[in-house]
Structure formats: C-alpha cells, structure tokens
C-alpha cells in the first residue's frame, strides 16, 4: 500500500524585498492552514524558580539545568530530518516548547524524537506535559501565530493531560493510525489518547536525526530514581503524587 505523500513545494515570497511598511502592516497573517500543533509545558517550572530564587547558587543551578535541557531540544530539532523539509517549525517561549507541521508522518517523527528527549529531561528531573491537536493555524512569521489548534493543544495540556504525558486529540490520533501501524506509540484509556512516556524503552527505535553522534545517552536508573524521589516529596500533595505514581507504572510496563 503506497503511503508516501509527496511534499508540496512552496517558494516563499522574498521577504527581504518587502518594504518596511509591509513588514509592519497589521493583518498580514497568512491564510489559515490546517496543522498539527504540539504544545508542551515543563511541570512545576514556576514553583521551582520561586522555591530556588532565594539562593543565588541554587537559582543558577536550576537555570543551568533548564538551559542544558532546552539546548538539547534545539540540538535535536536542528538536526532532525523533518526540519529540513521547511514544513515543520519548532520553538520555545519560557518553559513551553512547541512544534507544528501539516503532515502526520513528520508529526510521528517528531513524537519519536521528543520521546527520547523527554526521557533525557526526566533524567535531569524535569518533567513535561503536553497536548497535540489538529486545527487551524494562521501565522505571519513562523514564531508569530494563532489559531484553534494552539488553543486546543493548550487545553489538552492544561485540562486533559493531568499526568506528565502528551495528550493527543481524536483527529490527530485517527490521522496517525491512518498513515501507518503506530499503535505502539499511543495508549488509549477511557477514550483519551496519549503518547506512551517511555515508548523508547520498549523497542530500539531509530531516531530521525542525521547525525547520530548528537544523541545523548539516557540513564534510565536515574529516571526511576527521580520518579521515586518526587513520589516521596509529594506524598502529602495529592495532585502531584498521582503524577509520579502514574509515571512509575508506565515505566514498569515499558521496561518489561
């Protein structure tokens, strides 16, 4: 069954030839296009900086830890095969990462790569939660955008996900399943779909980057140590305790 979809070439207008007035014009956003939008947020970011802000040393350590993780995210994105297509975009604002693309197959590649990155972050005791939604996106520059796909992805992250997972909406889920046998990537519980947080542990997967030497080793024993440590720390915080119980269970399933 032929499943490869040819890319649609798109020669962008030469922005450098536009006048300054054009650049500053209001309302020159491109027409809305359907995209898969991924919104990912670092859990407890605000609280972490608040708690550590009092000490310069711990504040600096925290800052360096996040820098390292975000730096690795962009190292991977800059080298990812799908980013060469000019049909994908990855960015960051504060503790949020985002990614959008028009194609489900590149979205899958992003998810596989992010799954590896997510485990690296967990090893550093940073936990992400996110949402992937299909919807409209209007954008002026790659980093200036709005649309219902952004809103839906945000709601999936903040209202639906609860645990440190990447929640996937029904439309995206159906599109992913349609393009290939990707049921190994996604778990469905109570009609909600999410990316298995430790899917990379289940089977060796090729990561879609060109330079394999970029890939950093992930120590899974440190991940489980961090999960257990957070469980202890949040023993009396019902909301957060459940997140790490969930992760511990997911880890055990994937590591079998």
């Amino acid at each position: 069954m032929a499943r490869y979809i040819n890319p649609i070439p798109n020669l962008e207008s030469d922005k450098e030839t536009k006048s300054k007035i054009d650049r500053e014009a209001v309302g020159d956003y491109k027409d809305q296009e359907i995209k898969y939008f991924v919104f990912i947020d670092a859990l407890g970011f605000k609280q972490a900086f608040f708690d550590n802000g009092k000490s310069e040393k711990s504040s600096k350590e925290l800052s360096e830890k996040y820098s390292d993780v975000f730096y690795y995210y962009f190292e991977l994105m800059n080298d990812a095969n799908f980013m060469m297509t000019n049909e994908c975009y990855a960015g960051q604002t504060s503790d949020s990462l985002y990614f959008y693309t028009s194609r489900a197959d590149w979205l899958v590649d992003f998810i596989i790569l992010f799954s590896h990155f997510n485990m690296y972050a967990m090893e550093k005791n940073i936990f992400f939660r996110g949402g992937i939604a299909k919807g409209g996106l209007s954008y002026k520059e790659n980093y200036q955008f709005y649309g219902d796909s952004v809103i839906k992805a945000y709601l999936l992250e903040s209202e639906i996900a609860k645990n440190p997972i990447i929640s996937v909406d029904q439309s995206t889920f159906e599109d992913i399943i349609k393009i290939g046998d990707y049921k190994w990537l996604i778990r469905t519980e109570h009609e909600r779909h999410y990316i298995k947080p430790f899917v990379i542990l289940e089977e060796e997967r090729h990561l879609p980057v060109r330079n394999k030497e970029l890939i950093r080793e992930v120590k899974k024993e440190l991940i489980i140590e961090n999960i257990k440590s957070n469980k202890r720390n949040f023993e009396y915080d019902n909301g957060n305790f459940g997140k790490f119980v969930f992760l511990e269970k997911e880890f055990a399933i994937s590591d079998e």
């Binding site: 032929a2 040819n6 890319p7 649609i8 070439p9 798109n10 450098e16 095969n81 297509t85 590649d109």
Partner: protein, 495 residues
C-alpha cells in the same frame, strides 16, 4: 525450447558486439542468480539467500545459494539455448545467452552446479576461451551450428570426483554459512580474466558502479530520513506483484553492495511518480535550482527493470530525440536532467521489456511508445522547472541590486515566483500524464486519400488490438505458446 540451426556465429555476436562494457558481466551472472532464487522452495527464506562475488589472483567468482540446476538437466542447460520467434540475426531474444557473456573476458569460463553442498555433489561445465579463439579462425566456423560449436569448446563433467572436489570445497568453505539452510547453489568462475576486465574492477569508481547496476538494497540511513516511507513503498509490491526495488544480498570481496545513495544525496524534495501503468519512480530535486550539485552522485535519470540498471539519460534522451518526442537538443536535456536524481522502475514487464542488449527498452508496440512519451513529458517538466527557477532567481538577484526600482519590479518578481512555484509543483506531482495523442479523431476521414485512409485505419486497428491484447492477458492465466494466436482469436470472438 531448443534450436539446432542457430549458427555458431551467435556466440561471436555475443562476445564481440553485444557486451561492450565489461561491467555487464556482473549484471548477467547476478541476473542468473536472482532468477534461481525465485525457484527456491524449502526452508530457506529471503534473508538466507545471497550472492558473493570475489576476485582472487586473476580469477573472478560469482557464487549464489539459489536453486542451481537440476542434476539431470545441467548438461542440456549448458549447451542449448532457447530461441524466440524473432529474427535471429537482428533481435537476440534468446534465453540463456547471458551466461556466455564472460567468455569475452577470460580464458576459461567454468560453471559449477552445486547439487548438494553437504554431500559434495558438484557438476562442472567448462568453456575454453583459447579453444574458442582457435575455432573462430577456422573456415568451418561459419558453417558450424551452435551445438556443434559448444561440443568443440565445451566440456562437461557429470559428477566431479577426487581432488577436484577438494578444490571446489576450498573455494566454498570460507562461505559455507551460505549453505547452512540452502544446500544448492551455482558458481561461475572466470579464470584468467583479461586486462580490460581487471582494469574495470580495479577502477576507483567500480564499487560505486556496481551499486548503481545491481539489484541491491537502499542504505539503512534512507529509512531514517524524512522520506523513509518512500523507500519503504518502493521495497513493497505494487499492483501486479512486482516489487520495484526488489533487492538481494550481494557482496563484492566481502563488502556488501548497497545503492550508493546516502541521505546526504537527497535534496529538498523527494517525490514519487507513476509513469502510467508502466513504471513507478522517485526523483529528488532542490527548491532553488535544477543544477548539477558537486559531489552528489545521485544525478540524472536511471531506468531499472527487476531493479537492475537498464540505461541512463545518455541513452534515454537520444532515443527520445530519435522518435521526435523532445523539442530541445539532446545535450541541453542531458545537462538539465543531471540537475536532479531520478530512479524509474519498470513494473509492467508484460508490455515493457528490455532489448536484447539490455541497454534500453524494446520499442515494439504502442505501449513502449507510450512509455517513451511519458518519459519525454517528464523530462519537459524538469526542463520547465529548471528555467522557471532560473528566471526567478535571476530576477531576485537583480532586484536586490537595484532596490530603488522595488515598486515596479516586485509584481514581475511575484509573477516569476508564481511560475517557478507552479513548475516545482508540477515536478512534484504524483502522476505523470500526457495529453491525448494529437492524431486521435482529429481529421475528416472522408477527405483523406487512399494511403492516408489506410494509415488511419491501421492506427485504429492497432490501437484496438493492443487494447484487446492487454485485456486478454489480464484475464488469462495459462498460455499455450504454439496456439497463442488461435486461442486469442477464440477469446476475441467470444468477447
């Protein structure tokens, strides 16, 4: 089928004129090995089958662990060739010709039929090249039949015994793993290869050329690229059961041969295409220009049949020019297509076949002509994209240099950009189609003279017959070659 009255000169035609590139020797023996794999039954799976090619001292070896030849058929298979109905002097549609290709390039051509590796049962047939050269200079040569010639220059050993078995075992034992699950095979030895073949093998580009020529797999890294699904699709069967990029495990001097396309050779866009029902293809091109990229070997158009290289743009473009299908010079088009990389896999082997020299397709009927038209259309699309991108790029550069003319030239630039974009999208489309043939129903029959009327009727009948033939072939599963025409007529009357 066997022909007794094929002249001995046929071997001369093979050796002197059919095979003018030494590397084709590799194609012929690998093709034979690949054919033998299709006859495998038993425990061996595709992963267990392989072809090993190696050079040691001045000898060249081709070994496979395929079906081999049935023990009681080996001699007849070696000394006889099946013929087609075609004119024997001009069109060489013979089955079994390929195995003789090595005779041009060595002093002795040896065939070892491995009937059972585990039981050391081997058969041998040897063609003596020196003896052949001797016979060729004899007056009697031009009156000799092919079988008579083979009796003169060939010798058969129905079952090898004694120290010869040890010699063969010495050759095979470093590769005994091939025979763990598959007990049969075939070994071809070109003993004392000629300098020209030796030079070819020692050439710096030789391994790369083998990678383009033979039915080998794509590199693993392509299956991790953004276009990985494309390579997966090409490695799976299409309608009709043909796998376009069907690959075998082939090694040369213990190094696995792969298609020499790395992920670095891919450009901005990789697109899949269909050439009607005849072929599938993929092409790789850049978004900013269609021009030769230094250091990128994946250039030009290559046509494959059974995933074996048939020809490239240096044969394709002149052929299209010969048939009046292109409107630009051959040189210009060859340069144009070198600006991208294309691989075309013929999947309809009923209607499209290779010529006897295996240097191009056989132009026999409307189907082959239609395939040529589709090729021509595709090349024209590349040409249009090349110049549309070039005009846009030149205009952009000019505009940057003369910014005070911004207001007026921006519209023109946008128009050029749109044309270039449209041309790129045309190049990326999934299916190549051509406009309906211009001579169809475009004339008043009554106003034609007698000859023109006959020509028009002939075209119409040919078209109908071709269509009916295709329909007949698609519906029929068993064939009787001798009564094929009668059977077709009966089918035609009832349909």
């Amino acid at each position: 089928m066997l022909t007794e009255n094929v002249g001995a000169r046929i071997l001369n035609i093979i050796t002197e004129s059919l095979y003018d590139k030494p590397i084709v020797v590799f194609r012929e023996y690998v093709q034979n090995s690949a054919d033998s794999f299709s006859k495998i039954d038993g425990e061996a799976s595709k992963e267990d089958l392989s072809i090993q090619i190696w050079q040691k001292a001045n000898h060249l070896y081709f070994l496979d662990n395929g079906r081999g030849i049935e023990q009681n058929r080996f001699e007849s298979a070696m000394i006889k060739i099946a013929s087609s109905h075609k004119n024997k002097e001009i069109n060489m549609g013979y089955k079994g010709i390929g195995r003789l290709s090595g005779i041009s390039y060595c002093n002795k051509l040896i065939f070892i039929n491995i009937c059972s590796y585990s039981k050391c049962i081997f058969q041998k047939y040897v063609i003596d090249g020196d003896k052949y050269n001797e016979v060729k200079n004899d007056e009697k040569y031009y009156e000799m039949g092919f079988s008579e010639l083979m009796n003169e220059i060939g010798s058969y050993d129905s079952e090898i015994k004694g120290s010869e078995i040890d010699e063969i075992q010495n050759l095979l034992s470093p590769r005994q793993k091939m025979f763990e699950k598959q007990d049969t095979g075939f070994l071809v030895i070109l003993e004392d290869i000629k300098p020209i073949l030796k030079q070819t093998i020692e050439g710096s580009k030789f391994f790369n050329e083998l990678g383009w020529l033979l039915p080998v797999k794509f590199k693993d890294e392509l299956f991790q690229s953004a276009a990985c699904q494309l390579f997966i699709d090409l490695s799976e069967a299409v309608e009709g059961g043909i796998v376009p990029a069907k690959a075998y495990d082939i090694h040369f001097n213990n190094i696995q041969i792969e298609r020499p396309i790395g992920s670095g050779a891919l450009r901005d866009y990789e697109c899949k295409s269909n050439f009607g029902k005849y072929a599938v293809s993929f092409h790789s091109f850049s978004r900013d220009k269609i021009a030769v990229q230094r250091g990128n070997d994946f250039v030009g158009i290559k046509i494959y049949i059974d995933n074996m290289l048939l020809c490239d743009e240096t044969e394709i473009v002149p052929m299209l020019q010969r048939y009046g299908l292109i409107s630009h010079t051959a040189n210009e088009l060859v340069q144009t297509v070198k600006g991208l990389g294309v691989m075309i896999y013929i999947t309809d082997k009923v209607n499209i076949s290779s010529n006897a020299r295996r240097t191009f397709i056989e132009i026999a009927d409307d189907d082959s002509l239609e395939f040529l038209r589709l090729l021509a259309e595709f090349i024209e699309t590349i040409y249009s994209a090349r110049y549309a991108l070039s005009r846009f790029s030149s205009a952009k550069k000019l505009l940057e240099e003369e910014k005070d003319k911004l207001e007026v030239d921006r519209d023109k630039l946008e128009e050029l950009r749109k044309n270039a974009n449209d041309a790129l999208r045309a190049l990326a489309r999934a299916e190549i189609v051509i406009d309906s043939l211009e001579y169809e129903d475009d004339f008043d029959f009554g106003k034609l003279n007698e000859i023109e009327q006959k020509q028009a009727v002939k075209r119409k009948i040919s078209k109908e017959i071709n269509s009916k033939t295709r329909e007949y072939l698609s519906q029929t599963t068993t064939f009787d070659y001798d009564n094929a025409y009668e059977d077709f007529k009966i089918w035609l009357l009832s349909n």
